[in-house]
Symmetry: C2
DNA sequence: TTTTGTGCAAAGGCTTTGCAGTAAC
DNA sequence: GTTACTGCAAAGCCTTTGCACAAAA
């Protein structure tokens, strides 16, 4: 199924901005993108899309279940492609690196803790803030960030 | 140790706003308060404190380790008294209720997951979003919220 | 043609900051 | 008397919204 078909099947018109944003998420190696990341990336590719449109499309995609939105600690919201595989996140507070993990036992305990109190888990990633053990954090700072690297 | 002594021992001048805000957290049954909650509560007690001061004091208290700041999903930041007891949070997406929990096994797994990838856990509460199982959520909506109940 | 989407600029919500007056030490 | 703190209003940051134009169906 092409991006276009996927959009149609959701009742969304197939427009330039929507197609470009969707492919951006499908192609990029950077799995978690903010509205500004998307905006700047499109600009750098000479795609003329307004920031407001980016916000609107990201919101629509989230509501359509294509993307998942995250609010990591202090930062702006970021989105990732929703592949249907529930997972949690490991966030390096030093380099901003994001890794995913899944631990069946943690899932089980969560469910039990909630159930014991009369609640049901609402699907949502856990955010696990960590710091790198080495002083020179070996992880690159945002692989190819579209953010604040002014020469 | 009085609130005043506690402030002095942190190198902070003992001022009206600081004392009032600190006692608010010590006395209230509502453990998690936003800046606006604090501001409105003080107003309702005829304490004349500016919102900017509330923000500044909350930030100072957090940096001093008196308070812990949380950013639950979409909401504004909330603070709770830092009693030194690490715990995680259960957040009802229906009624806004906040419960605390601590699960040694989850702690253990977190540590292991991080260590296996060369990270060390940075102390931070886990947020577990849940919904109540009964349709008529039995939990009151924000015990005595200082928020949006305009008659 | 009808409907939905888009860009721009303006506005919104939460938080921070500049500044001159004020209180703590 | 100094220095730190406060209140107010203004500004900042991220995000949303109003509106007229443009593109999709």
């Amino acid at each position: 199924m092409t991006s276009g078909d996927q959009l149609k099947s959701l009742g969304l018109k197939v427009t330039g901005p929507r197609r470009k944003i969707l492919s951006l998420f499908e192609d990029t190696d950077r799995s978690h993108l903010s509205a500004e990341d998307v905006y700047k990336t499109l600009l750098s590719e000479h795609e003329d899309v307004g920031l407001a449109t980016v916000y609107r499309v990201l919101t629509q995609f989230e509501q359509a279940g294509i993307l998942t939105r995250h609010r990591f600690d202090n930062d702006k919201a970021v989105y990732e492609l929703n592949k249907g595989n529930h997972h949690d996140h490991l966030l390096c507070i030093q380099c901003g690196r994001v890794e995913e993990f899944y631990d069946p036992e943690i899932e089980r305990r969560q469910k039990k803790i909630a159930a014991d109190r009369g609640f049901r888990i609402h699907d949502h990633s856990l955010y696990l803030y960590v710091e790198c053990l080495r002083e020179d954090c070996p992880h690159r700072r945002h692989d190819g960030d579209a953010g604040e690297e002014e020469s």
